[in-house]
């Protein structure tokens, strides 16, 4: 993707990992085929988290996690990475969205992710107010299901450990999460 914001402060070589890229997730494969890209929108159900599986082709260490706020930033967001058993590896914690249409980073504990290994990225938001998030909207129930997407009614903004996801009950707009990464295992 093209950066439209100043690069984050770090002295390490970095790249932005888009969890919705076709090289990273099946969800990315499907949206690459069927959607025009994320846009300012709204979260499906307040405090019902959505998660997609992903896999990397090289070892990476996550330095930060982030999202792109919608046209009217606000309310709290939470992103977390889980292993294949849904144990939480790293999370942003509940963080207030700030800055319309900007990529907002949360500095997290450096977290090494191993190539060819299944992980999950989960996203939660506490509001269904329009333009709080940037989402892949218009996803069909079937597209979401074929991508492996799951959900959990958390009932609060902070993503739990472990995640206990269940099958989707409806199509879900997925707010695109990102990670700032560096090569190697930390």
């Amino acid at each position: 993707m093209t950066l439209t914001v100043p690069p984050p402060m770090t002295t390490r070589p970095w790249a932005i990992l888009d969890f919705c890229a076709p090289e990273v997730s099946v969800f990315g494969q499907l949206v690459n085929q069927t959607n025009t890209g994320p846009a300012s929108g709204f979260f499906g159900t307040a405090n019902t988290a959505v998660a997609i599986p992903f896999m990397l082709r090289s070892n990476l260490t996550i330095l930060k996690l982030g999202w792109i706020n919608g046209a009217a930033a606000g309310n709290n967001h939470c992103i977390a990475i889980y292993d294949a058993s849904y144990a939480r590896l790293v999370t942003t914690g509940s963080t207030l969205g700030s800055g319309n249409n900007t990529l907002q980073w949360v500095d997290t504990a450096d977290t090494a992710l191993v190539r060819d290994t299944l992980y999950w990225v989960a996203y939660n938001h506490e509001s269904i107010t329009v333009d709080r998030c940037t989402t892949y909207g218009g996803m069909q129930f079937g597209t979401c299901a074929l991508s492996g997407m799951l959900q959990q009614a958390v009932g609060a903004i902070a993503l739990p450990d472990p995640l206990v996801p269940v099958a989707l009950t409806q199509a879900r707009a997925f707010p695109a999460p990102y990670a700032l990464v560096t090569a190697g295992l930390g």
């Binding site: 076709p22 499907l30 082709r57 079937g142």
Partner: protein, 176 residues
């Protein structure tokens, strides 16, 4: 301060797929952008075959399509390039708003660099999440059809897809 970008997704010699899953047809099935996904009904009792080249040797754990509305008998399976059936679900009633999944009792081994055909056959009533083929798009996708192919036959007799529109999205999950 200077910043240096790095490629996070450098290619490995043995290409891995997200979630060990292949969507056919799709980017990792070797195709460029297709159409929007829509719920479509196929032609009654017709088989739809979609070729793909397996990127690495592994086993197939399951194959799925999404049944959006209605119910009817359908079948999912895998063929080799010569049309030999390697495994199939058998004609089975599908359920609306759910995945229609073939889980072989023994995972089906697939080899790196070998072409296979993912196959779906339908009685034609239920709608399935699909892309849209066309006279212009079908030739580049290595797809074929066969009449009277429910349950999926062995061997398959591949016929040109021509102007066939229905192009079911098949998700294949690998063992690793």
């Amino acid at each position: 301060m200077t910043y240096k970008s790095l490629a996070y997704n450098e290619r490995s010699a043995r290409m891995r797929l997200p979630q060990n899953t292949l969507i056919v047809p799709g980017k990792f099935g070797g195709f460029g952008r297709l159409s929007a996904a829509t719920a479509q009904a196929g032609t009654a009792n017709q088989g739809y075959y979609q070729s793909f080249v397996q990127p690495y040797s592994t086993d197939i754990i399951s194959m799925s399509v999404w049944n959006q509305t209605g119910t009817n008998n359908a079948d999912l399976g895998l063929y080799d390039a010569t049309g030999t059936l390697l495994g199939s679900k058998g004609s089975t009633a599908s359920v609306a708003a759910s995945l229609f999944t073939f889980t072989p009792s023994v995972p089906i081994p697939v080899q790196e660099g070998v072409m296979y055909f993912a196959a779906f056959a339908t009685a034609g009533t239920a709608t399935i999440l699909a892309f849209s083929g066309s006279a212009q798009n079908n030739p580049r996708m290595g797809r074929a059809i066969q009449a009277s192919a429910l349950a999926l036959p062995s061997p398959a007799t591949f016929a040109a897809a021509g102007t066939t529109v229905f192009l079911p999205i098949i998700s294949i999950v690998f063992a690793n």
